[in-house]
Structure formats: structure tokens, C-alpha cells
């Protein structure tokens, strides 16, 4: 036990301590955000009662503009925010109700399937991972896997819901702060993002930590069994994420496509909160849970796993704990150490966050690896042994971390309108929507190149050093700064909403310019966030794939075997099938939305002139109904494919399917996200007219601008529905295969058995 510098008791303290610090920090940020008042007088709409001090209402007068500083604007903002929050809450409750039914059914399936794996794990047989011990019966695996699946699902739901609550609390406050200047508004938006980032990171870490400790009460020294059951946690997290992403994605984009076509509706803003916030929260939580589980499973068959060295075993969780601390310091650079003075400084400030967190984390990883790992240990993988040094593991984590930074930078380059790619796309609007679309698609395809090389190098280096444990740790490395990543991510939709609220509340041109600038940076950061999500998903899936293969008892996945090759081919097709479903869903829902909005313009007198209020409820209902109905087929495709392939074709074909969907899905996901982001910012580039070139394309309403709007609308389902759902597709199929691996190995492959 004494092989690591950090004693077990230190680990037992460190992990919960970091989680609690993060939660405290998140609450502090929330408190600061709540000091922006949403009611003209004293009490704000959320009921907080912190007086009208330094950040209070009186100060608005400093930069206030003619005639806008009246109570009615603030009240209008509060009204709109309430409508958004209500819409989002009601959607999420509806969604969770449907998904809840599915979760219970799937939990039953897990219980049945895993409970039926006979011949393994009965107490009369030695444990596979540790032949000196006897394993618990199969029933235990079934029960504990089911429990951890449910826990993962619930944690994922809570994460998404909390994020949504925070975002809908912050959006109008950001709008109001924009009256004091772009810097103030930025800080509020970023702080709110940080609340979400830190709550989620701490939540995920803490629940996993407690679960491990509770399961240990039953499993005792059978760590193989323990960490086999814990993979259910990842499956639960990602299943929820899938529905959150797909349902939320269809919701937001149905509303957005509709809105861009015939006018802004409230559903668009609701959509951002349920899709980009709740969905993204669940998604990244899923990645985090899965990469930790993958690392733990592989670690349980290492030398320190067999010797039960607690600190070394929990190394993945310690890395995440330190990551939270690093992100905490990083956040201060955005919110307290500097204040932005100009719209041009927004993107650099966000980029600085990425750089600072990566550099600090590199140091952190070095320290953690030094104190929490034995200087040398053995990994057992695919029937071979590999001696690994602690500095090699540190390098694995670092390579993932830096690959993430590279992906982030490349994504920024291709989606920010500060660089030539987006400017070229904007320029192509000169000759119409068609060239805009062609250039945008080409940009997305091109943006895949460097990230793929970065991931490939990451995989090669980390695998060479520490086999599948290295891959899992590289994935965790990319996700170690998840709190900052999520803060940046959440910043985007909050700013987007703030802009929407400013517009609907009829605020001045100057304020809307500020919120637009925040929003444009948000589009870029959203693309960066998706880049991280996809990159980490690729590594996570590979790690899960490795764990699956070793649990299914396969020694090679040979492309030359026809069973594997057809799996590879069909697997590479799945992302297309999935995208076809989700895009068609968005298209159909958008059609309905457009018709509804047109109907309202025709039937509600005074709506066109702005004197009457549109019927938000019906629009929200259309989006809700469409997304609930339409999320089922793609969800079923992803959840059922591993089951069908595993049962009918067996573990080999399934391994081909996993590899195929991984290598093909990553490409579509990256290109779709970046194409969409680029179109959105090309439009914003023309609208903002910040350069000589941009002004020749504008103003709003010009032919090039119209072409840019078409591109933006096409990009919506690409960047917010099909693209970001694809990384869940590849992760989820991998983790599901891992959970059912033994079942497939025992009962699967029916078709080839005939």
C-alpha cells in the first residue's frame, strides 16, 4: 500500500475536499451573479435580497442611454427571462418523463441480461481478473450494474437541469449588465458559466467517489467485480446525454430554423438552454464518467489494482480533483484579474482561459503522477504485460490535454470571424447562397485534418506508453479542465440568450452591438466546446473499446476477417443514418414552426406592427412535441445497435461496428460542428460590419447577407443537433458494448451459430 507518496487517507480527503471547494466556489459565483437585480426596485425576480449595493440598479445610470433607463425595460427583460425559464423547465420535465420510462425499461434489461450470464462469476469459480480470489455471483454484477446505471442517469439529469436553471437565471442579467459595458456583461456571463462548470465537475466526481466507496463495502477486495459494475455509471450518464442532446438539439434547432426564417420566437431561446446547456452538460458529464470508468476498469487489472493500492487505483479521480483546482485559479483570470474593455478582447480572453488551464494542468499532472502513482507498475492488456513508469502516465495525460488545446485552437481558427476561413465564406455570399454553402461545407471538411492528426498522435503516444490505460488517461487529460471547458461552453448560449432578450426588450442599438459581440465569441467557443467533446469522445470510445475487447475475450480485431470488416463498414455508415434521422427531424419540426409563425402573423392583429404579443406557448409546444417524438428513432438506433449486433452477429462483428462508427463519426461530428459555426459567424461578420471588407458585404438585408442567413439556417441542425449528438453515439455504443460484453460473449452471435 505504501508504494505511492500520497497515503490512502490523503486520497480519501483530497477528492471530496476538492469537490466541496468547487461547489463552494460555484455558489459564490452564483451569489455574485444574483446581485444583478432583475426588478427595478429592491427584490429581484428570483427572490434574492442582497440590497442595491455596488452592482445595484443605481449604477446603471453611469453609461445609460437616452430614454432607455426606465423600469419598463428591466421588467420586460424579467418577463422574457421568466418565459424562457418556464419553457425550458417544462420541456425538460416532459423530456425526463419520457426518458424516465425508457431508463426503467433499460435498467430491467441490464438486470436481466447481466443476471443471465451463467458460467461466470459463480462463487465456485475463480475470479477472472484475479485468479487467486473467488468472484461474487452474477446476480451481484447485475444488481450493482443496474444501480450504477440508474445513478449515472440521475446524476446526468441533475447536471443538465442545474445548468439550465443557472443559464436561465443569468441570461437577462447579462443583458442588463451590457448597459454598463461589454466587460461587465462578459464577466456576468462567464461567472454564470463557471457556476455550471464547477457544479457539474464536482457533482460528477463526488457521486462517483461515493459510489465507489459504497460498492466497496460489498465487494471488499474484489476490485475487478467492483469496477466492472461501475461501468454502468458511464452507460447511465451517456444514455441520458443522448436523449438530452438529440431531444434538446431538435428542440432548439426547430425553433431556431423557424425563427431565422420568419421572426424571432421565444422557443429559440428556450432551445439554447435545453440543447446547448442541459444537453452539453449531460454530454460532457457522460464523457467524464465514461473515461474515468474505462481507466478504472483497465487499472483494476494492473499490478496496483491486484495489490489494492487505493491511491494509485483512484489516480484518475485525483487527476480530476486537481483539474478542478486548476480551473478555479484559471477562472479568476477571466473574472477578477482582468476586465475586458473592448469587444475585440472577448475572444482572446476566452482563448487565454484555454491556455492558462492547460499550462497549469500540465504542472498539476506532473505533481499528481509523482505522488499518486507507484514509480513503476505493470499493466495487463490483451494478454500481454507492460511495465509502465509514472512519468509515462503523466505524459499520456499531458498529451491528451495538449491535443485538446490544439483541437480548440484549430476550431477557433476555422469558426471565428477574426480569421480568413470564415471571412472567405462570408465573401462567397457575394455570389449567393449556393457558393456560401459549398465554401462552408468545404471549410468543415478541411477543419477535420489537424484535429484528426492531433488525436492520432495522442493515441499513438499514449498507447505506446501505457496501452489502453494510456488512452483512457489521455481522454481524462483532455477532460481534466472540464470545469473551464463547461464555463466557456455555457457562456455561449447565455450570451446568445442575452442578445435575444436585448432584441425582444427593444434595447438600444449600442447595447445590442455588445450582446452581439458576446454572442459571436460564444459561437466560436461553442464550436471549441464541441471540438473538445468530440476529441475526448474519440479517446474515451477507444478506451472503452479496448476495455470491451478485453472483457469480451477477443484477442485481435482483424480487419481481414469478413465478420469484422462488414462490422467496420456498417459501423462507418451508422453516423450517416443517425444524422439523416436527426436532420430530417429538425427540418420537419422547422416546417411546422414556420407554418405556425405564419399563421400567427396572419391571424393575430397587430403582431406584425409589434403591438400585440405572439402566442409563445403554441411555438414552444410545437418544438416540445416534435423533439419528444423525434428523439425516439435516433435514440433507439444507438441503443439497440450494440444489442442487435452483439446478439445476432457476436462480439467480433460488434468490435468492427464500434471501430467503424468511431473513425467515421468523429469526422462527421467535427466537420458538421465547424461548418455550422462558420456559417453562423460569417453571418455575424456581415452584420457587424467591423471591417472594410465586411461592410462591402452588408448591411443586414443585403443580398450577401440573405445568402449568409441561409447558410446559418442550414448550419443549425448540423452544429447543434446531428454533429454534437454523434460523439454520444460513438461513446454510448462503446460503453453499452462494454457493459454487455460478457453477455454477448456467452450468448451472442446467434446468426453465425446456425
Amino acid at each position: 500500500m505504501g508504494d505511492t507518496l500520497l497515503p490512502a487517507i490523503g486520497t480519501e480527503i483530497l477528492i471530496p475536499a476538492c469537490s466541496l471547494v468547487a461547489i463552494a466556489f460555484a455558489l459564490l459565483q452564483w451569489l455574485i451573479v444574483s446581485r444583478v437585480k432583475l426588478s427595478p426596485g429592491g427584490l429581484d425576480s428570483a427572490g434574492a435580497n442582497s440590497g442595491s449595493g455596488k452592482n445595484g440598479y443605481a449604477e446603471y445610470l453611469i453609461e445609460e442611454e437616452d430614454g432607455l433607463n426606465d423600469h419598463s425595460v428591466v421588467l420586460k427583460c424579467a418577463d422574457i427571462q421568466n418565459a424562457i425559464a418556464e419553457g425550458a423547465t417544462s420541456f425538460l420535465f416532459t423530456e425526463y418523463r419520457y426518458v424516465g420510462i425508457f431508463m426503467v425499461a433499460f435498467a430491467a434489461l441490464i438486470f436481466l441480461f447481466l443476471g443471465s450470464v451463467e458460467g461466470f462469476g459463480t462463487s465456485s469459480q475463480p475470479c477472472k481478473y484475479d485468479p487467486t480470489k473467488l468472484c461474487k455471483p452474477a446476480l451481484a454484477t447485475a444488481i450493482f450494474s443496474t444501480i450504477s446505471f440508474m445513478l449515472g442517469a440521475v446524476t446526468s439529469v441533475v447536471s443538465g437541469f442545474l445548468g439550465m436553471k443557472i443559464a436561465t437565471y443569468a441570461n437577462a442579467r447579462t443583458t442588463l449588465e451590457a448597459r454598463k459595458g461589454v466587460g461587465k456583461a462578459f464577466i456576468i456571463a462567464f461567472r454564470s458559466g463557471a457556476v455550471m462548470g464547477f457544479l457539474l465537475a464536482a457533482n460528477g466526481l463526488l457521486v462517483l467517489y461515493i459510489t465507489i466507496n459504497l460498492f466497496k463495502l460489498y465487494y471488499g477486495d474484489d476490485w475487478g467485480g467492483l469496477f466492472e459494475s461501475i461501468t454502468g455509471y458511464g452507460l447511465g450518464g451517456s444514455s441520458m446525454a443522448l436523449f438530452g442532446r438529440v431531444g434538446g438539439g431538435i428542440y432548439t434547432k426547430a425553433a431556431d430554423v423557424g425563427a431565422d426564417l420568419v421572426g424571432k420566437v421565444i422557443a429559440d431561446n428556450v432551445g439554447d438552454n435545453v440543447g446547448d446547456i442541459a444537453g452539453m452538460g449531460s454530454d460532457l458529464f457522460g464523457s467524464y464518467a465514461e473515461s474515468t470508468c474505462a481507466a478504472l476498469v483497465v487499472a483494476s487489472i494492473s499490478s496496483f489494482g491486484i495489490n489494492h493500492e487505493f491511491t494509485a487505483m483512484l489516480y484518475p479521480l485525483i487527476v480530476s480533483s486537481v483539474g478542478i483546482l486548476v480551473c478555479l485559479i484559471t477562472t479568476l483570470f477571466a473574472t477578477d484579474f482582468f476586465e475586458i474593455k473592448d469587444v475585440k478582447e472577448i475572444e482572446p480572453a476566452l482563448k487565454r482561459q484555454l491556455i492558462i488551464s492547460t499550462i497549469l494542468m500540465t504542472v498539476g499532472v506532473a505533481i499528481v503522477s509523482w505522488i499518486a502513482l507507484p514509480s513503476s507498475f505493470t499493466i495487463f492488456n490483451f494478454g500481454t504485460q507492460k511495465v509502465v513508469k509514472n512519468w509515462q502516465v503523466a505524459l499520456c495525460v499531458a498529451v491528451g490535454l495538449w491535443a485538446g488545446l490544439i483541437i480548440g485552437f484549430v476550431t477557433e481558427y476555422y469558426t471565428s470571424n477574426a480569421y480568413s476561413p470564415v471571412q472567405d465564406v462570408a465573401d462567397s455570399c457575394r455570389t449567393g447562397a449556393a457558393t456560401n454553402v459549398i465554401f462552408g461545407l468545404a471549410l468543415g471538411y478541411k477543419s477535420v485534418i489537424i484535429p484528426i492528426f492531433a488525436i492520432a498522435v495522442g493515441i499513438y503516444v499514449s498507447f505506446s506508453f501505457a496501452a489502453m490505460y494510456g488512452i483512457a488517461m489521455a481522454a481524462l487529460g483532455m477532460l481534466s479542465t472540464i470545469a473551464t471547458g463547461l464555463a466557456i461552453d455555457a457562456y455561449g448560449p447565455i450570451s446568445d440568450n442575452a442578445g435575444g432578450i436585448a432584441e425582444m426588450a427593444g434595447m438600444s442599438h449600442r447595447i445590442r452591438e455588445r450582446t452581439d459581440a458576446l454572442d459571436a465569441a460564444g459561437n466560436t467557443t461553442a464550436a471549441i466546446g464541441k471540438g473538445f467533446a468530440i476529441g475526448s469522445a474519440a479517446l474515451v470510445s477507444l478506451a472503452l473499446f479496448g476495455a470491451y475487447v478485453s472483457r469480451a475475450g477477443i484477442s485481435t480485431v482483424d480487419v481481414l476477417s469478413p465478420k469484422v470488416f462488414i462490422g467496420l463498414l456498417v459501423g462507418a455508415m451508422l453516423p450517416y443514418w443517425f444524422s439523416a434521422m436527426t436532420m430530417k427531424s429538425v427540418g420537419s419540426a422547422a416546417l411546422k414552426m414556420v407554418e405556425e409563425v405564419r399563421r400567427q402573423f396572419n391571424t393575430i392583429p397587430g403582431l406584425m406592427e409589434g403591438t400585440a404579443k405572439p402566442d409563445y406557448a403554441t411555438c414552444v409546444k410545437i418544438s416540445t412535441d416534435a423533439s419528444i417524438k423525434e428523439m425516439i428513432p435516433p435514440g433507439a438506433l444507438v441503443m439497440l445497435t450494440p444489442l442487435i449486433v452483439g446478439i445476432l452477429f457476436g462480439v467480433e462483428t460488434l468490435s468492427g461496428v464500434l471501430a467503424g462508427s468511431l473513425v467515421s463519426g468523429v469526422q462527421i461530428a467535427i466537420s458538421a460542428s465547424n461548418t455550422g459555426g462558420a456559417w453562423d459567424n460569417a453571418k455575424k461578420y456581415i452584420e457587424a460590419g467591423a471591417s472594410e471588407h465586411a461592410r462591402t458585404l452588408g448591411p443586414k438585408g443585403s443580398d450577401p447577407h440573405k445568402a449568409a442567413v441561409i447558410g446559418d439556417t442550414i448550419g443549425d441542425p448540423l452544429k447543434d443537433t446531428s454533429g454534437p449528438s454523434l460523439n454520444i453515439l460513438i461513446k454510448l455504443m462503446a460503453v453499452e458494448s462494454l457493459v454487455f460484453a460478457r453477455f454477448f460473449a456467452t450468448h451472442g452471435g446467434l446468426l453465425f451459430k446456425i
Copy 2:
């Protein structure tokens, strides 16, 4: 030798006889086409002098319309045809000049690399394929590979050039025949397509047959060495096809995108002939050459290869010979047994061609397999032996053949405006270009599903029966009806051109309706042709991949090995990189074209009113310059990747790259082709207004129609440049790897050796 029912002498007669019959048939069709006069009096513009008999000018009067039966229309058509033919010829000569330089350089590379593989093939060592014999020195392999490479390149060039000549000879004749009725015009277009189909099929077969016989003079009984050298033929064919497709594709689409935006230019028609005709001809010739070579290489290490059974060895060529005869009979069903009366009958007639040829060929394959193969033989593959019955090989060919038919039907379903998918896309134009693009992309993604399953089943069945020989024969099965496939394919651009000529010559609405109907069917058949090309390319690449792996001495391609996995990941990215390049090229060239056309409208007085002639030459020059310049980077990417990966990373990573690009490229290629085809036909659906639904969307110039035009323009580079080039990408990388396999195995993997 006597193991087959067909004696060697029978084979020696059958193959050249079938080729000569096909050539005679093609010439007969040409003669019939030439009887449509392009000059009002007697002599037609091509100088043929077959009098003005049954098909002569006088008969036009029967269905002639008011005021259009004047000499000037015929002269105008002849003029336009001349301009198109000149443009196409001049472009192809320019292209071939540049590609020629490349070919010589690459031939030198082949010679150097293959000549440098020491330690193998020296006369003091036993032959690897047949340890009982001594191999010829490496120099022989180098020389003969280089020769067969050059031969393949030249045959490919001749095929493409001939196709273009025929198409530019037939287009105006189709226009003129349209005056007599849609049936007559269809027959002329189809006959012209058949000229190309039969000439190409016969040409490919005959050259390969003669080459084998000539090489045999040197190699004698060393069949392993002979068929190793012959793979250069496939490489030469596909290299030319790559440049033909990419260059031609950029050319045609630069012109077409430009044309759709600001008016019709002659370059659009030239483009169809150099891209869809010459490019497609080279492409399918390449597939044919490669699958035959792959089958021959694998067969040379079978029991009949080792025993030198000539007939069994040449079984792949015999299948193609019988395929030609089958296609000959099939063609008569389109041109002589029936005549189309109504525009609605065009698509069924073309579909009938597919069905008839498939059914007849199934019978043909059964007979050929019975007489030309031993009833049972042994295949040596990846170190194992496999006993194969002749009926199993017949099933392999048949499964490829029928998989092709399924792909054809699915493609038709998704791209023809007779079915709901395209009608849904057209309907989505109601809400603008954005929904049109979203629906179109989703349609393309969805259209991938069934073809992939068909290919997967084909692979599984044929591999189970006869390992890699089965895969190669399945590919050849899909290509066995290549003459009909090419005829259908060539029919499309000819009809497209005919419509363009009718428009430019100012022919009546009624005639243009007919040519439009021919053209709409042509869009569908073009998509079907691409489906075939992609499906067969997938099988061919897999067969080549198998041959490569066995020649490189790899026994397994294990996805779990990081070397292979990173190859897989990067390989799956290559089609995106390639597509980004080609699409961006089309976009840039189109931008230039649009500017030029706008310039002409502004500077040439009377052009807008149609009284002045546009400056065709400058437009043609823009397309030419752009395509020559822009075809180099994507061409280099494809040609250099196997060399770089093989030399730096070695044969294992290269095998990953090949598998990755194969499984990823197939999907993009199919979806791009079908998306483009669907958009084109959605536009035509609205324009034709043939149903109640279609009329609510039209007429030409309505908002939905404008949205449809945008979709069509975006689809152009997808369906005619990047999509169909991708199948060459995957084939070419595979055949190149095969040719250099021994070199890489000996000298490659420098980076991992350090």
C-alpha cells in the same frame, strides 16, 4: 490442363471474338447515329455520306412545328455542337499534356522503387508464390510493371477520349431527333451511349488479354511474376481516371455553377463531356482493370494457378466476355424491340436495361463457371487453404451482380422525382433554400443505408465462399454488365447536352419539354451509374487490399494495434480532406466564372437581348485553367499518401489507412452523389410541373423554384466532382499500395525504425 470443360484453345478464341463482336456492334450503332443529318442538305458535319433515307431530313416534317423547320435551326445546332466538341477536345488535350508529364514521372518512380527491392526475386532465390520455381530478377518486375502502368494509362486515355468524341457527335443529333418524338430521341441518345459502352468494354478486355499473352512470352510459367507485373495496368488506368474525374469534374461544375447562377454558357456542355463522359469512362475502365488484376493476382496463387490451367486462370476475362454478349442482347431491348411513346416511359426503359442484363448475366455466369472452372480447386490466402467449388464462385459473381442491381434501384428511388424522397425535397423548397438543403443532405445520408448493407452482405457471402478471390469476382460481377452500365451512364450527359443545345438553338417549348424529360431521366441514371461505380469500387478496393496485405506479408490487420488504428482514423479522414480540396476548387472556379459572365453582360452590347454572341472562348479558358491548376493538389494527396505512409510508417499503418479510407469514403461518395442527384431532380420536378403537387411549387421563377436552383447548384460539386472522385481515391490508394507492397515491406516504416 484438362480440368475445365472449355479447352485453352476455346478461351484463346472466345475472349478476342467477344471483343471483336462488341467493337463491330459499337460501329454499327455509330453508323445508325450518323444517319441523323446535321446539315440541312446532304452531307452531315462529320462528313458521313449515307444519304437522306428513312431517317433523313425530309421525315422531320411529320411532327414539325410552326416556323421551326428552317435550315437555320439545324445549322445553329451544328454550330453549337462544333463549339462543344472543339472545347472538349482542346480541354482534353491540355489535360492529357499535363497528366502526361506526371505519368512519365510516376512511371520512373515505379521503375526505380520496384527495381530497388533487393533480396527478392533474384534468380538465386525460389519464387515466393511458387517455391518450386525460381523467380525472375527484380528488374523484370520493374520493367514489366512500368510497361503495364503505361499501357493502362494509355488505354484509359483512349477510352475517355473516344467516349467524349461519340458524345459530342451525338448530342445535337439527339436534339434534332427530339423533333420527331421523344422515342426517336431516346433511341439516338441510347445508341450513342452504347457505342461508348461497348467500345470501352471491348477495348479494356482486349488490351488486357493481349498484354497477358505478350508478357507470357517472357514470363513463361512464372505466373506469379506475370500477374504481379500486370497490376501496374490497374494503377495506370486509375491514375488517369483520377485526373480525368477531378479535372473534368472541376471543369464541368465550375461552368455549371456559374451557368446556373447567371446564365447558360457553352462551357457547361463541354464540362459534361469531359467530366461525366471522359471521366466516367476512365473511372469505370479503371475499376474493371483493377478488379480483373486483383482476381488474377489472387488466382495465380490458387491450385489452378500453380498448375497453369489457362482457362481457369482467365476465368475473370471470360466472365467479362460473356458480359459483353449479354449487354449486346440487352441493348436491343432499348433500341430495337420497343419504342418509347411517352416521356413517362423513359425511366422504366432504362430500369428494364438493368433488370434484363442482370437476369441474363446470372444465367451467363452459371454457364461460364460450369465450363471455365474446375469443379473444385484450392485458394491459398493469408496463409490458409480453402477448397472452393465452381458453383460457389458463380454465387460470388452473382452476389456482386445483384448487389449492383439493388444499389441501382435504391439510387433510383432516392434520386428520381417519381418517388416521395425527391418530392419531399421539392416540397421543402416551399420554406426556402435552407430547408431544401437540410432535407437534401438528410436524403443523401439516408440513401447510404441499404447500399452499405448490400455491399456488406456481398462481402460476407463472397468471402465465406472464396476468400479474397470471391471478393474480386463479386466486384467483377458488379462490373460484368459494364457495357450496359456505361451506355446508360453516357445517355445522361448526351441528353443533358441535347437539352442545352435545344435551348441555345431557340427550339420550341414542346421540343424542350422532350429533351428535359430525357435529361431528368439522365440525372437519375447518372446517379445510378455513380452508385455502381462506388459499389464496385468498394469491392475492388477490398480485393486489392487483400492482395496488398498478402503481398506485403502481413498476416493480420489488428485494429487494437495503435499503428493500425491511427492509420484507420487518418484514412477515414482522407476523403474529407480530398472533398474539401475539390469543393473549394469548384467554388473558386465558379466565382471566377460568375465574374466573367457578369463582365460580358456588362461589356458586350446586345448580349442581354440575345442579339450578340457571348465570348465562349474566355469562359472555356477559365474552366480549363482552373481545373488544370486545381486538379494537382487533390491528385497529389491521393497519389502521395500511400507512398508517404508506406515509406515513413510502414505496411501496417498503410493497411489501416486503406481500410479507413475505404469504409469512410464509400459513405461520403454515395451520399454526395445522391444528394446532388436529388436536388437536380427536385428542381426539374418543379420546372416540369407534371403533377398537381409540382404545380403548387412552380412555375419557373417562383420562390420555391429559386430555392430549388440553389440546392441544385450546391449539389453540382457534390455529385459531379467530389462524390465520384472518391471512389477513385479508395481504389487508387489500394492499387498503388499493392504495386509498391514489396517495396514498402522491404524499405518502409522508417519512422518506427528510428
